[in-house]
């Protein structure tokens, strides 16, 4: 439907991905022929998104800033069907992972992806990763500016950057366009926030040194206002300071957050300013033409002015309770009257959070074509978004999505959890996560109870690498290994939003069969003590951890 308003790859972009496929094909060939040492191929394949995991290799395909066309999603479905076991997994950094590709077939997969300008470039390895952003970019009412044009500018600059491909550690950038943070930007190596200064100009607030993993840190402001034309030269300066000074003797201390903490943010920003003096106003300075060109790819769609006059939605909402529940939870206000943002839940009952089958991908692509200008977005909390749906189309869309198990009305609730694959798939895991996700789903399946709890983020990781962002959930669950058994440590009070903060550990870990029961106790304290409309997060901030601790550990005797 209609023309696409996504970034359109030109010949240069296409040539780059094509050449990259051939380059990687040759690297794989030389590795299999024994010409390329294991450790060297490891670095090369990681820079192309290929991990070797418990079961098989794992391939992570980039979805730049979480935006894709229906054509691209159909290709992802085709790859799941042809080269994998019929599904993929959406990650917290809005990429997609395949768990069962064959090493020898990866070059063919990449060649297929390149046909739709997709790739796996820099989805892992110690390089600049896929830049992420707000899944409601361009359609949320209170954004200052659409962040995607800047994400695209960063994508180009960071793709195959010759100087920053062997950084001390991986490097993640997230960009937000308004006061709300749906991209967890403060737990990224660099968080960029579009802001307005006193003169009314738009630029970036720049945060550095956020990150999770074994040393979770919230990012710190290194520059409160960076005029936007300096975006790349300033990033370049930060990366060079990091590349030269980040620790290389210990990979657990190699992220930029450790450097920023060691130097202090003042000294770190002094080094950046000193470095920036060389490149500021140089070739990397963005031209007005380049910013405009990038913006031209993300213009608002041709919205139907008539859409605002719809009356059918109210009728359907009144007539169908299930639809109304879904509308309430899984759709979001759109800046254009008569439209809604739709979140397709990838958290169905008793299935791995974030997983999506090939048939579901095809179906979402069809829905996008029919109802949302052919465009799909992936979110930090592992769901998909159709960003531009007419209110009058919602009912029809919901019926189709519901039939494909994509409309569980749980977005923002306890069962809309962020969850890493854990021990079932990941070689680094200490504990399983998917069985715990099931346990929680079984216990808290009652929608009225879930709705009564309101908005709550439950995040779960299978080890301290924190891929499931447990530190920044209202409730976090971390799998730990105690003498060969899976135990789970619980944290409370984290947030990855505007008020980003790290959760506090509740107490000693609980046994695998106790996780859901423990959550129930925590939630009971909230339900008993909340004031009026108070959310779990606000109640926790008021009450502190003690009442929760008392309930959980007192009852254990």
């Amino acid at each position: 439907m209609g023309e696409s308003f996504m970034y359109q790859y030109n010949e240069v972009d296409q040539k780059l991905v094509d050449e990259r496929v051939e380059q990687y094909r040759d690297q794989t060939r030389r590795f299999l022929a024994g010409e390329l040492p294991e450790d060297e191929f490891l670095a090369l394949r990681l820079m192309n998104g290929l991990y070797i995991q418990r079961q098989a290799p794992m391939l992570r395909v980039a979805i730049p800033y979480g935006l894709m066309s229906s054509l691209q999603l159909r290709k992802l479905a085709h790859i799941a069907r042809t080269y994998d076991r019929g599904y993929g997994h959406i990650t917290t950094r809005t990429n997609i992972q395949y768990n069962w590709p064959k090493l020898e077939e990866v070059p063919d997969i990449l060649a297929e992806l390149a046909e739709v300008q997709m790739h796996a470039i820099q989805t892992s390895g110690n390089c600049i990763r896929n830049t992420t952003t707000d899944p409601y970019s361009g359609v949320s009412a209170n954004e200052l500016e659409d962040p995607r044009p800047y994400c695209e500018i960063i994508r180009q600059w960071s793709t195959m950057h010759p100087e920053f491909a062997y950084l001390p550690r991986k490097f993640k950038i997230a960009v937000t366009g308004g006061p709300e943070d749906r991209a967890a930007s403060q737990v990224h190596d660099i968080g960029l926030h579009l802001v307005k200064n006193e003169a009314g100009e738009i630029g970036f607030e720049v945060l550095v040194g956020g990150g999770l993993g074994r040393t979770p840190v919230v990012g710190k402001v290194v520059k409160s206002f960076l005029p936007k034309q300096h975006l790349l030269s300033y990033l370049d300066a930060i990366l060079r300071v990091y590349n030269m000074n980040g620790r290389r003797d210990n990979k657990y201390k190699a992220r930029i957050k450790i450097l920023v903490n060691a130097l202090g943010v003042e000294e770190f920003s002094r080094l950046v300013e000193e470095e920036w003096a060389f490149s500021r106003d140089g070739e990397l300075t963005l031209t007005e033409a380049e910013i405009e060109r990038s913006k031209s790819f993300f213009k608002p769609f041709d919205y139907d002015a008539d859409a605002a006059n719809d009356t059918t939605l109210d009728e359907k909402l009144a007539a169908d309770k299930s639809f109304a529940a879904w509308y309430e939870r899984n759709t979001v206000e759109h800046k254009q009257a008569g439209y809604r943002i739709v979140v397709l839940s990838l958290k169905p009952y008793l299935k791995a959070p974030g997983d999506i089958t090939d048939a579901q991908m095809d179906l979402v692509a069809d829905l996008a074509d029919r109802y949302s200008f052919g465009e799909i977005r992936s979110t930090h909390d592992q769901n998909l978004v159709l960003a531009d749906v007419k209110k009058s189309d919602l009912y029809a869309l919901w019926q189709v999505a519901d039939s494909a198990d994509l409309a569980r009305a749980n977005v923002g609730t306890l069962t809309d959890m962020i969850c890493c694959p854990g021990f079932d798939f990941c070689a680094l895991a200490n504990a399983k996560t998917l069985n715990i996700a099931d346990q929680i789903n079984e216990k808290f399946d009652d929608l009225d109870y879930l709705y009564d709890l309101g908005k709550i983020n439950l995040n779960m990781s299978g080890c301290i690498n924190a891929c499931g962002h447990h530190h920044v959930g209202d409730i976090g669950i971390l799998g730990v290994d105690k003498k060969g058994e899976d135990w789970y440590q619980i944290t409370l009070g984290g947030s990855s939003k505007e008020d980003a903060r790290l959760g506090k550990i509740l107490g000693k870990a609980v046994a695998a069969d106790q996780v859901a029961d423990t959550l129930e106790k925590i939630l009971a304290v909230y339900l008993e003590q909340r004031q009026e409309e108070e959310s779990f997060a606000d109640a926790y901030q008021r009450l502190g951890i003690e009442p929760f601790k008392e309930r959980v550990y007192a009852a254990a005797h």
């Binding site: 670095a43 600059w157 100087e163 033409a289």
Partner: protein
């Protein structure tokens, strides 16, 4: 050890000595030598008369001091002690940006799959381990024809070209 310059294997006119060699045999040979930068710093007076001098640095060296003295050298060899250590890429960029006119040579863990990136960062010569080099490897310089960022040869990022 093959030395690549302009994508061709050339004869190396330089003798590169490491700290161990210099300790075992403190007498510097005549002619073109490359010594560790730390050795240079410790022996500046003795080396003052030498016309053709090269130094070898790695990321642990005092790069500020190197940049201050770079015009003194005909060759600056940048060592990649291990594959993971990417500081050498930035060191080359500094030198190129500061206007260094001599040879910037990559040594240590240098291999085919990084030649393209090294070239973009301003390296002009590459010492490759014998067993890791075949003449076909020069294809690495041209297998990626596109870059977005610009390079030392053409610093304009794609949007200024």
């Amino acid at each position: 050890m093959p030395l690549l310059i302009n994508q061709t294997v050339v004869t190396d006119e330089w003798v590169r000595l490491d700290a161990d060699q210099l300790e075992a045999n403190p007498e510097l040979p005549e002619g073109k030598v490359i010594v560790p930068f730390t050795y240079f710093l410790a022996n500046q007076d003795a080396l003052a008369a030498r016309e053709a001098l090269g130094v070898c640095v790695n990321g642990d060296d005092d790069i500020v001091a190197l940049r201050e003295q770079q015009q003194r050298f005909a060759v600056i060899a940048i060592d990649f002690p291990v594959l993971r250590d990417g500081r050498g890429f930035s060191i080359a960029r500094y030198l190129a940006r500061d206007g260094f006119k001599g040879q910037i040579r990559a040594v240590g863990d240098v291999s085919r799959d990084r030649l393209g990136y090294m070239d973009s960062c301003g390296f002009t010569a590459y010492e490759l381990p014998e067993d890791r080099f075949t003449p076909e490897d020069v294809a690495a310089f041209t297998e990626m024809s596109v870059n977005y960022q610009g390079s030392v040869a053409d610093p304009r990022p794609i949007f200024r070209r």
